[in-house]
Structure formats: structure tokens, C-alpha cells
Symmetry: C2
Subunit: 224 residues, 2 copies
DNA sequence: GCCCCATTCAAATGACTGTTTGACGCCGAG
DNA sequence: CTCGGCGTCAAACAGTCATTTGAATGGGGC
């Protein structure tokens, strides 16, 4: 039901999804993600979204059921992407080191995906901000998922425990918590604050250097 | 209506402020801080606040001018308290070490106040949650302050640069940023997530142990 | 004893919210 | 050509919101 007015040129469109998305639906998704990431969930109205997307007001409820469902749909897609990429990198590190990768490579699998997506020219830059914002401003449904679905983190916790078997499990869990805090703190507003404090010395734009700094800091913390 | 009859004993009240606060005003402040900390700024209406406080709806606008101004007033008080306490601890560490305290004591001055206030029986427990929430959900006025007023952090940055003179200033700024991220990540929701992941192994209630863990992790990161 | 002023109160105001409605257009199948 | 239905549209709906209003209250200063 999602698509049927799209097929003007259905078999020529080069970048269509397996599940072809109506142009309206895609535009709403893109506009909503952008506005939510920039201004917060509660500060963006359905009217703002449809105006930005250039579609009718009723489109959101027609295609997604409700504003909250739209939010959740974006959230679902983006967290799935992020978790998949992190799992992929952890798996590769596993392969490289016969199932027991060192701490730094485990942390790199955790840090690099959001950092790579945050590069200034990346089209996913806004998605990372959306995900980070979802953590503190999301709807109840989103928070429920964040609170209870931790399966993607279990692999990381296990890998870290294997890499540092002398650490008590609770130490590993806490330090993983600290590392996640480092990532979630990478919001535009926090960079602004740091930029003010350092009088422009810290350029957020160099994400490769930032990733290296984060790894240096977190790795040392884990080896303490 | 609760009582304008507060001033019956105005000069006997032992714990009155220099600027005596009407009972209504104080009740609104307390109720607002509590509700905002627990449910978020946008999810709490003026009606919720006045109902919780047991005062009339118009009280908020009468005493504070607007909902946003009430928010800002709480924010202003709490951040001032926190900054004052952190500065005090840093100053004491300065005195103890002749002006050049070690990294760990500097970080302790940064971490301990919010941790101490987060103890389960502390009446300021809710204030810490309010401050943390303000960082990501605050009004534009609050975010403006957070972005531009960094004077209280400059002392910490300077102290850290003195303690580790071989580090480039930008390294110090970034690592301070990471440390602040660790603190700001201490929200109830994040503890829930960690609790789920560790299957109850991590007890958030032991704030002394948590502070020690944070210091171990952050100190190692700074000495890297 | 009387007035003034700060405070409190119930009620209303107006703006904005997410959502629903029913008509309309338009494409493809039969 | 005709019909079915999907998608779009403007308009309306119902609810909530922060804020304002003007009257009522009650105590302190004279």
C-alpha cells in the first residue's frame, strides 16, 4: 500500500529499494530526520516536517500512522544500521585475531562507525545526531527499546572480557558504559562548548583525529 | 491560597533566605525541578507543576514571569551551586599541593560533587538529573549559557595542563571533553540500560565505588 | 478601624498541536 | 471506455498548552 503512484518509471529508476518507497514517504523521512536531529523531537511539528518536505500535512498520518510512529521508524532504521556496522567491524576484528581481538580494535568497532558517519561531507552526519538525540529525547517506545534491547552490546562486553580476563565483569561493564558516554557526548552543542573553551583550538571537523583521540583515551582507561 | 499567612512568623523562621522566599514560590521551584528532572522539560506542563505543588495555576507566571523563566531560574541556581562546589574542591586541591595538584585530584574535583549529590538518600539527587537533562533538552537561553559560559571549566583545563605540561593543549581540551561526557552520561535511563546489560551486576546505588571507577578510567586516559 | 498592596483564585483567551474527514484526481486493470 | 482505489488535498476537529484577566482575600502600616 505504500507504493502505487510511484510507478511512473518503476523499472528505470536506478536507486530504488527492494521495497520501493513512494517519493512522498521518502521525502517525509528525510525531512523529519533532519529537523528532529537539528531541533529536537518536541520542537518539530508535523506541519514543520510536511512543509520542509513539500508535501501535504496529512501525509505523515497516511504513510506512518502517527508522528510517534514516524519517529520510531527513523529510529529503528538508523539504530539497525549502526548496530549492523558495529557488529560487522567487530566480526572483522575477530577474524583478524583468531577470535580474541585486542581492546583497541574492539573499541574501534564501537567508535568508528558513528565517527565515520559524522564526517563533514557525510550524508549520514545528521543520522548520527538523530540517534544521539533519540537517547535522551526519544518517545517512551524508543526509550523502552534502548533500555531493554542490549543484545548488540553483549558481543562487545564479551569481547572485552576475553581481551582483559583479569578484569571483573562489572569493571568491564562500567568501562563500556563510560565509553558509550564518550560517544553520546558528541553532539553539536557539546562541540560548540569545547570550541568556546579551547578558543578554536579543537576542530571537530577532523573526525579521524578525534577517533584516534577517543581510542587513546578509552584504551588507556581499559588497560588501567 | 495555600497560605499568604506565611509571614505570621517571619522573623522567627530559622531557615529563611536573605531574600525570603514565599512558600508558594519555593514549592513551585521544588515541584518543577522534580518533575522536569523525572519526565523532561517538554513533557511537563505548568498545570502539572502547580498541581504537584498544590498552588494555583497562575502562580508560575506571577512569580517567575513564564515557564521558561522558571526553568532558567532553577537551571541558574543549580549550575551555580555545582560550579561553586567544583571550584571549591579544586581550590582545596591547589592548596594541598602548592598550586600544582595531580591529575587525579583535579578530576576528583570535577567528578565528586555530582556523584556525592547523586547518593540515593541525597536531597540533591534530583538536582543532578535536572542539570544533566538541561544539557540536552534545555531551552535556547540555557543552551546559550552552556555554550558560551565556560569560565568555570577554564580553571580545570589550566590545572590539567599544569599537571601534564607535556600534553598539547588541544589534547587536554579533548580529554576534558571526554571526562565531561562520562559525567553527563549518568542518567537514570543509562543506568537502566547498563543494569539490563550486566544482568544486575552493576549497582548504581554505590556512588562511592562508581566515583572511584570513573577516576580510575579517566586518570588512566589522561596519563596515556 | 481603614486602606493598600501583595498574593491567590477561577475562568477565559488565543495559539498551536496531532489527527481525521471527505472530496478530488489520476493511473492502470479489465 | 469505465471502474476501483491509492494518494493527495484543503479544511475542520478536538484537545492541550502557556498566559492573561479581573475579582477576591487577608494581613501590615497608619
Amino acid at each position: 500500500m505504500s507504493e502505487s503512484a510511484v510507478p511512473p518509471a518503476p523499472d528505470i529508476d536506478p536507486d530504488r529499494d527492494p521495497e520501493r518507497e513512494a517519493a512522498t514517504k521518502a521525502q517525509v523521512l528525510a525531512a523529519a530526520e533532519r529537523l528532529f536531529a537539528l531541533h529536537g523531537f518536541q520542537n518539530v511539528s508535523v506541519r514543520d516536517i510536511t512543509a520542509e518536505a513539500g508535501v501535504n500535512l496529512a501525509s505523515v498520518n497516511y504513510h506512518f500512522g502517527s508522528k510517534d510512529a514516524l519517529l520510531f521508524e527513523i529510529f529503528r532504521r538508523r539504530t539497525a544500521e549502526l548496530n549492523r556496522e558495529r557488529a560487522r567491524m567487530l566480526h572483522e576484528a575477530d577474524d583478524r585475531h583468531g577470535g580474541k581481538p585486542p581492546v583497541r580494535e574492539i573499541l574501534q568497532a564501537l567508535f568508528e562507525p558513528p565517527m565515520r558517519w559524522s564526517k563533514p561531507d557525510s550524508e549520514r552526519r545528521i543520522s548520527v545526531q538523530f540517534i544521539i538525540r533519540a537517547r535522551s529525547e526519544g518517545t517512551e517506545a524508543m526509550r523502552e527499546v534502548l533500555r531493554t534491547d542490549v543484545s548488540h552490546l553483549r558481543r562487545f562486553a564479551d569481547a572485552l572480557m576475553a581481551a582483559r580476563p583479569e578484569l571483573a565483569p562489572e569493571d568491564v561493564y562500567w568501562r563500556l558504559h563510560f565509553c558509550l558516554g564518550m560517544v553520546h557526548n558528541n553532539r553539536f552543542a557539546e562541540f560548540d562548548r569545547l570550541h568556546t573553551l579551547s578558543d578554536g583550538l579543537t576542530r571537530e571537523s577532523d573526525t579521524d583525529a578525534l577517533l584516534r583521540r577517543m581510542l587513546d583515551f578509552a584504551e588507556a582507561g581499559f588497560l588501567a
